[in-house]
Chain length 784, copies 2
Amino acid sequence: MFGFRVPMVDARERVTGTIEFVQNLVLPGMLHARVLRSPHAHARILGVDASRAAAAAGVMAVLTGADLDDPALDPAFGLFLRDQPPLARDVARYAGEPVVAVAAETEAEAEAALAMIEVDYEPLPAVLDVDAALAPGAPVLHPGPRRLAFNRRDLVAHQPGLTGTNAIHRFRLRRGDAEAGFAGADLIVEGEYRTPAVAHVAFETHVCVAWFRAGGLTVWSSSQAPSTLAETLAGVIGLPVARVRVIVPTLGGGYGSKIDPSIEPLVTLLARKARRPVRLSLSRAEEFVTGMKHPSVVRLRTGVRLDGTLVAHEAHCLYNGGAYATDTPEKITRGYASMGPYRVPDIRVDSAGVYTNVTPACAFRGFGMPQMAWAHETQMDRVADALGMDPLALRLHNILLPGDAFSTGETLLEDPHYPELLRDAAARIGWAWPIEPERAGSRVRAKGLAAIIKGMGAFSATAAVKLNADGTLNVLTSSVEMGQGALTVLAQIAAHELGVPLADVRVSTPDTEVTPFDAMTAASRATSFMGRAIRAAVGDVRAKLLALAADQLEAAPADLSVEDGRIVVAGAPATSRSIASVVAAAKVGSLSGEGWYRPSIGLDPQTGQGIASPQWHPAVCAAEVEVDEETGRVQILQLHVGLYVGRMVNPTGCELQVFGASLFGVGQALFEELRWDEAGTLTNPNLSDYMIPSFLDLPQRFGQTVLETPGTIDIHGIGETPLPAIAPAVANAVSRAIGARVMELPMTPERILRLVRERDAVPRGAEPGGAAARGARASATPAG
Amino acid sequence: MFGFRVPMVDARERVTGTIEFVQNLVLPGMLHARVLRSPHAHARILGVDASRAAAAAGVMAVLTGADLDDPALDPAFGLFLRDQPPLARDVARYAGEPVVAVAAETEAEAEAALAMIEVDYEPLPAVLDVDAALAPGAPVLHPGPRRLAFNRRDLVAHQPGLTGTNAIHRFRLRRGDAEAGFAGADLIVEGEYRTPAVAHVAFETHVCVAWFRAGGLTVWSSSQAPSTLAETLAGVIGLPVARVRVIVPTLGGGYGSKIDPSIEPLVTLLARKARRPVRLSLSRAEEFVTGMKHPSVVRLRTGVRLDGTLVAHEAHCLYNGGAYATDTPEKITRGYASMGPYRVPDIRVDSAGVYTNVTPACAFRGFGMPQMAWAHETQMDRVADALGMDPLALRLHNILLPGDAFSTGETLLEDPHYPELLRDAAARIGWAWPIEPERAGSRVRAKGLAAIIKGMGAFSATAAVKLNADGTLNVLTSSVEMGQGALTVLAQIAAHELGVPLADVRVSTPDTEVTPFDAMTAASRATSFMGRAIRAAVGDVRAKLLALAADQLEAAPADLSVEDGRIVVAGAPATSRSIASVVAAAKVGSLSGEGWYRPSIGLDPQTGQGIASPQWHPAVCAAEVEVDEETGRVQILQLHVGLYVGRMVNPTGCELQVFGASLFGVGQALFEELRWDEAGTLTNPNLSDYMIPSFLDLPQRFGQTVLETPGTIDIHGIGETPLPAIAPAVANAVSRAIGARVMELPMTPERILRLVRERDAVPRGAEPGGAAARGARASATPAG
């Protein structure tokens, strides 16, 4: 079943509108919740008077910070650090933070009750960006000691020096001797690269229904991480994990926004207080204050020889984590890729996640890599410009080849196929050096390139399978179908592994009471990690099956194999039995198997040396753009992405994922940015003011090259891979077109026009490619 | 957790009315079904005109026999023989058989549409009892060849000689030399014993909701056999078992009525035709024509020496199976116990199940054993009477002791503790021989005894477990909670086996998409069989856990054990870790395990020799009654039952089950009987005319003795054990009181008065104890 373009197994339900979303769930006696949110970015809560709301028509429960003092509860939650309360307790730390929640018979009654609540705030000084938050004397959001989350003690080393600062967590990497490296460089290029906050904008907003019943808690949630959510809720309400059931039928998109617990603890506590099922579905506006991509500031120094050989790299990477830690402690480790997919012997990297008084940043498609790629691929073009070198040639000269060591010291075991991918992508858009921008009136065209390497989170995946008496297979996983086709690909893998038709396999959706633990459907890991776990589980059940068949066929198990749903004896092709007949004859009813993939990674906390990722995903992008220097509008004429994926399970699904992730990159390149006013209020929490790509923004030519290794079982996830490469490739083309360097995303018309104006205000040639862009402390100085 | 009187884990939901019954399930767009049933016991269906019904208000689908001709379907079903159509196709075989089904927006609309359907019947001659059905020239209900059900080929040997007869299946047992045995007897006692059709009368009527969705079929059903039902429905509609999901939250009682598929194929086909979820909930009247206990006629010959030693036994056992085979092929094997729990060297048994034009008989608490016990324990008292011997002494003289061979040739491995149980029960009611009935006016008191042995069906049980990262356990089984406390007992077994608190274990209810195969919750096998499977599954997961702990503790797995939720190293008591810390440190998220119990039984089809049951359940009963010879009313003054159960998991649950099963016996002894008129129409399908015991019918003294072996893991099921002993013990007391032998159940006032009249019409002493009862061809003749 590998390599077959099968339709999604739930295609019919999806297009006929009969697929089950939590949004459509109706339970008997279900209440509806609405949330009153802080209007202040930072404020002390002096008092809450919800008495009128509690007495209002239809209101069944009102939850305030005072309810969190129940000694039976342990309400603070967080994937790595338990620092986030379901409701602001004494302090609100961002504008939009939940302060009071109401559950009523109807959503309108709950909404009406919100207006009756009086909250007395004392505004506090707020910090909105990383530099302000790290400045001496800045207000500290979380002054108390840090508390590690359950089951994450081994993943995040405790860093006691952080108490009393706004640093969430720090990461450092030391390889070779950076000082010596820079000393030996012919040229040192510096730059500061910024990316903005970006919203996920899944079609489906966050939704959760919580119900205490049958001696436990059942939660239906739009979660990408049902198993982890069950552990979180168990911790909050003090129930055994065995009694917390998280059910996720399907999602209308996630993109990382639904990994971290967010509304679920709040809805759970409301249901607990109301003693009824409670539903909360966020409005689109609320989505914008529930999670976002980490804004970043990355400062790079690159040492290079005149022949283009990279010799030293220094990075200082700051991720703006917003008001709560969420997954920031892991995200900042992505500093390991701040030099990109290149050989650099001497490296020094420091990363930090920073608390600020904005929306909590959380996982976002690409998980910290787009911030790195934006920096290193812009920097690479600036290095090429400084050297007067073809950016393609510079990349090919330094690109990682099989056997090369990465920044973490690990050797790439798989061939990432970079030279092939880079040359192919360049050729597809007609790359030729030197590039002379083609000008027609106010419009100017140019081309750009980027290459990236992406690591993956390493949480283990477990699968269980049940082989039925008719030889068909049920697969139990906690992997979430969110439109990406997980159910289809996982069924293909199981069918392939057992040797039965796809129709004979059914993959269940997560129900943590029965489906094995899986940390999350994220990080491009469903196909690759869960796929391996399923293969192992099928192997487990096959071994049991062959043991039964060996008895029945009077053969040694080692002489048996499964081919096309039949068990055959080596050397005796005429002697075969169907799987069904073996299971039936053994009277076992069903056979169960378990399998897992538990990648072993780990980085030394002092040096960042070790194993950072179980797989490395390579991608390249080549872009041709047309910039209108009168309007500032950027149009993408050609976009070609290239990936090596090991092997495609479902080529249709793979290609659609690659296009989808690339289009995400287009939005981030050109328009997407959350903006706050000076008081810390989000100014564009709606889809009129916050732009996402439409079909009109599709590149005019949009292509992809996906390389495979025939027969390999090393299947890559591909949900994120091309995304980090898009913005820098487009920006490198834009910078070349306008002769001014883009150092900050997105490339809105306003920003382009400003660059063009600044370009025209300074002498051309101050820096090849335009290094004098706004705010960039970039320089290209011949080194000592 | 063994031996603890814990409350039922779902007690709170049960008493607060929040537990989920399928009866309460509401689905979006759900239609409601009603069924038109045959008024004839046997009739050819010449035509069905449902056109008006199909056009009626609210009607969305009408299903007739013609719909079964769809070549995509294979509609006939049955646990052993596929002989039952969802709807009568060309022939209706009993009064009450479904002929047309309607699905409409409301139940009232469906009911109204039934009146618009015209069915043209040609009545056929009907046979209502086994003798009529087996008589030469009787109309044959199923003239065609027999078709074996999926996955039951090995359980029911094909018997080709049956075609063209009304014999459903035959069973024979031959041990020793019966002819020689009778030749050596001093006395031969003969008798014919009859039991009537009895209704299960579960509080919850049959209910089923079927919905085609997500590429498969989901069925919520009040089924005691969800895994088997999934296989049945998969066969009917041609889907892989992996795509048929049967969900059973809980049942309001089953007692065997919900083992065989009944309404589910019909509801499934309606849902398929309507393309909507369809619900059918039977009325109380419909319950009475959906299943029943097999009426029986058992003819016994017993050869005995004058000292009371049993030497020969011959039995001819006829079970009236009604119109379809259901589980009759297995039930008739219970002829192996037609001589009761006694040593008899020479045995000849022939059993048959017989098709008749009445409601299909199906599983019923006790599964064929009450019919046997009624015969052999009445016969034993008649043997004692014939010998002038104390019935207690006669039983003790012949009772099975450890090491004795049973009729099947198997040796009892466990001590059934009969002498202890018999002496105890007799003493509890003040047994003293000879018994002189105590008369006071028209009221007369006497005492009776009975002893029985019960075998069990041997289908395998499989369990899966999931150990969570906090050390708590989810247990996955397809065992059905139907008020008997299965969820509680299975949780206790799992908690005991893993060594964790009961609150840390959650047992899931059946959902065949994810829970492993279990043939059925029946035959007293949930605690004993599934308990063993769970213990094995916990053992499996514990082995995985200890392997992880061994790595972490740098110890050999063999040196590790689990005590009170902690893993300890032998010889190093200070070195221990919690289960939670081991699972968490290994980053595995969860660990899964599988376990099963697959009893190996099998009887030679020619001789009935082999292994009939994986466990043998002993019970005794002692009763004292008062009969009013003017009114015919029987009152039970004392009832004491005795069982050996291996070990009680939850003594409260065990005792309640024993009382409950005993009360079932009281109903069957005194009132319960389904009656048909001569045309084959049921005359009492309601709870005014069909009597079940009320609290007023409780024995005035009601006691039990439950023997255990401390520390044993050989746990018996106890859901049925005492039931077969009740009616004969009560009847032996009644017969002794009135001086006339009861040969047929139930002991209604009418029947008692008739016996008293007949007694007074014949000379006393013709047979000690009154062998000249109506219809009994009983004799006690000195043998040649």
